[in-house]
């Protein structure tokens, strides 16, 4: 499997595009900053959100059972799935019972995680993603590259070409307004024909047994209210104790995600429509195990705002696809090693540990500290990438011998200044791939110290 660094290198080969991607995300980060500065109690809200989630995780079993009981009282069918396969077969079972052939979906990272679309397609069910960004990548046959803006990696000309091929828009047309209108017309037909709608869940309220879904497009509601059957898939960590806690989370979510004060639609579903059916599937898929990893359980507080991606210097310059997992960026890099330490061992290294992710996170997850801790665990488990292992071995040897250290330092300062570029930047210098060596100082700190301090 290609590692993050290799895929990032591929991404960076097109420099103009990498710059464009970088700027597009930084623009969203800047909007987030502006929106948060308008809320004087911002830091208090983050503290509260983190505390509410912490408390909920500490009594997660209780809140989930309360949620289930109240949802049932509301006339909702509740299902539990231990893993992705069980989730998919539960959803499929519900669809079969209603003879559903056409399903519309709104954004749900959980169903991406479970591979639901592929599963249902194999079983002859048409699945249409209805969030514009998700529809774009679905038509393109690609996974999302961002959890809030799934098609952020594509340029409008590419969307135009795709729509020309799939939706018969005019050739060469790339105006976002025109393309959005074409998608609107296309999706209306799908909404009207759908027999079932499936959504993800932003928050599930234990006290009332309802679920909350936030969108800007209105696609979740177009699906849910038109189709007789509605299904909501949620991870076990989505539950919150009471409706009043939504006050905290709705103030944080959209501001962190896109810099909006709130999403255009914040929909609260509690009971099925007249003559309709409502199902909720509660999914574990590794989350309860994550809850047991002491230093890492905080990652379950995540409300999927995407702010840590937008701010991350590595994400912005490597693209979501380079991570090889549904949830990319800093949060993805601390969730994935828990899924497979071996497979994702390279992701905690896809970071500068600058800490910007932790600074913007609305639920105050210590993301960069967890990245650092995963690195230690990965090294201990023997999954360090070969180049890093060799480097560490040499560094270990040199650092343990002060004389060697001094000599190497002198040599390096001389070499960087005198040697031609090809001798410094070659296949042996992995660090120098994509990085420039620093300007070497005239003397080492030790030399300087001896000259200037000890004599006095």
């Amino acid at each position: 499997m290609k590692q993050h660094a290799d895929k990032a290198a591929d991404f960076l080969r097109n420099e103009a595009r990498a710059d464009w991607h970088d700027e597009a995300l930084w623009f969203v980060r800047a909007k987030r900053d502006k929106a948060t500065h308008g809320v004087p109690e911002w830091e208090t809200l983050r503290e509260l959100a983190s505390g509410i989630k912490e408390h909920t995780l500490s009594n997660l079993d209780g809140y989930l059972e309360q949620f289930e009981a109240n949802a049932r009282q509301n006339g909702v069918y509740v299902h539990w799935a231990s893993n992705a396969a069980e989730h998919n077969s539960i959803v499929h079972g519900i669809l079969i019972a209603h003879e559903v052939k056409r399903l519309v979906k709104s954004k749900s990272m959980l169903t991406e995680e479970c591979g639901l679309n592929e599963y249902l397609a194999e079983h002859g069910i048409e699945v249409v993603d209805t969030d514009l960004g998700e529809r774009i990548i679905q038509l393109k046959g690609e996974p999302p590259s961002h959890i809030v803006m799934p098609a952020i990696h594509l340029k409008k000309e590419e969307v135009g070409e795709l729509f020309h091929e799939k939706l018969q828009t005019e050739q060469g047309a790339s105006d976002p307004k025109y393309l959005t209108e074409a998608a609107r017309q296309h999706l209306r037909k799908k909404f009207l024909a759908a027999q079932a709608a499936l959504t993800g869940v932003n928050f599930a309220i234990a006290q009332t047994g309802g679920v909350v879904v936030c969108t800007n497009e209105g696609n979740a509601d177009m699906g849910v209210h038109l189709a007789p059957l509605q299904i909501h898939s949620m991870g076990i960590e989505k539950v919150i104790p009471r409706a009043e806690h939504l006050g905290v989370f709705t103030r944080l979510l959209a501001r962190s995600a896109t810099g909006q004060p709130i999403t255009i639609y914040t929909s609260h579903y509690h009971r099925p429509k007249a003559g309709g059916e409502m199902h909720i599937v509660i999914v574990d898929n590794g989350r309860s195990a994550q809850l047991g990893r002491q230093g890492y359980r905080n990652a379950l507080k995540c409300i999927r705002c995407g702010a840590c991606m937008n701010t991350c210097p590595i994400y912005r310059r490597s693209g979501g696809h380079s991570y090889g997992y549904t949830i990319p960026g800093p949060i993805g890099s601390i969730l994935t090693p828990g899924i497979s330490l071996e497979r994702y061992s390279n992701l905690p290294f896809a970071s500068t540990l600058c800490g910007s992710c932790s600074d913007v996170c609305p639920v105050k997850i210590n993301i960069h500290e967890q990245l650092y801790n995963w690195r230690q665990d990965i090294a201990k488990a023997g999954h360090l990438p070969v180049a890093k292992k060799q480097g560490m071995r040499w560094a270990g040897l040199v650092l343990a011998r002060p004389k060697w250290y001094g000599a190497f330092g002198k040599l390096a300062r001389w070499a960087i200044r005198r040697l031609p570029r090809f001798m410094l930047y070659n296949s042996l210098n992995l660090w120098g791939k994509g990085r420039d060596l620093p300007e070497p100082p005239e003397q080492s700190f030790k030399e300087w110290y001896h000259k200037n301090r000890i004599k006095k």
Partner: protein, 195 residues
């Protein structure tokens, strides 16, 4: 059963219980509510019209939607030409050009308006209509989401929502486009209470 397995795993793995923090009151001066609300609705892509009497509503609806052929309304003051109570299949609402619904409460900090399914006339109406107007009493403005959630009851009906503008997307190159899958425009009609 998977439920038992999941619950057992959580019990085994969950951390020691921590306290649930209580949410302090974050309020600001009541005098700022209306101007802030108007600014926020406009920032979200909607517009605000101030009316003074319910008698103005029908005329207002015609000026707001001059080209609308099919108008659905959940307010008795505006008749429209769709009888919402007769609509069984929600798909039948697809041709609606304009809809007028009632809002229960408006939030100054973000321009969001709460409406339950009873206020909407039909769950899908505020989304499927091409254009939307919400009638809201300026007396029902609150300062932020905390106050909003303390006033509403989210499960009073089977469905309820906050609407903060016309449907929008920025999924193509981050350029903002109004009119994604839901209503293409939002007008908020502020109508003082008469009772």
């Amino acid at each position: 059963m998977s439920k038992d397995e999941i619950i057992a795993a959580i019990r085994k793995n969950k951390p020691a219980e921590t306290a649930l923090p209580s949410i302090p009151a974050f309020t600001y001066a009541q005098g700022e509510l209306l101007p802030t609300f108007i600014t926020m609705v406009e920032a979200g892509g909607g517009r605000v019209i101030e009316a003074s009497s319910p008698d103005e509503l029908p005329a207002l609806a015609s000026t707001l939607f001059p080209d609308a052929e099919i108008i659905a309304s959940s307010l008795p003051e505006i008749k429209g030409n769709v009888r919402l109570s007769d609509i069984g299949q929600p798909q039948k609402l697809e041709p609606v050009d304009a809809a007028v619904i009632r809002g229960q409460l408006g939030v100054a900090e973000n321009g969001a308006i709460w409406a339950s399914e009873a206020d909407c006339g039909h769950r899908v109406l505020p989304f499927i209509t091409q254009h939307l107007a919400i009638v809201l009493a300026p007396e029902d403005l609150v300062c932020n989401m905390h106050e909003a959630y303390s006033r509403i009851q989210v499960n009073a009906t089977g469905f309820g929502l906050f609407i903060a503008g016309p449907s929008k997307t920025a999924d193509i190159e981050q350029s903002l486009v109004i009119g994604a899958q839901g209503a293409r425009s939002l007008a908020v009609i502020l109508l003082p209470r008469t009772d």
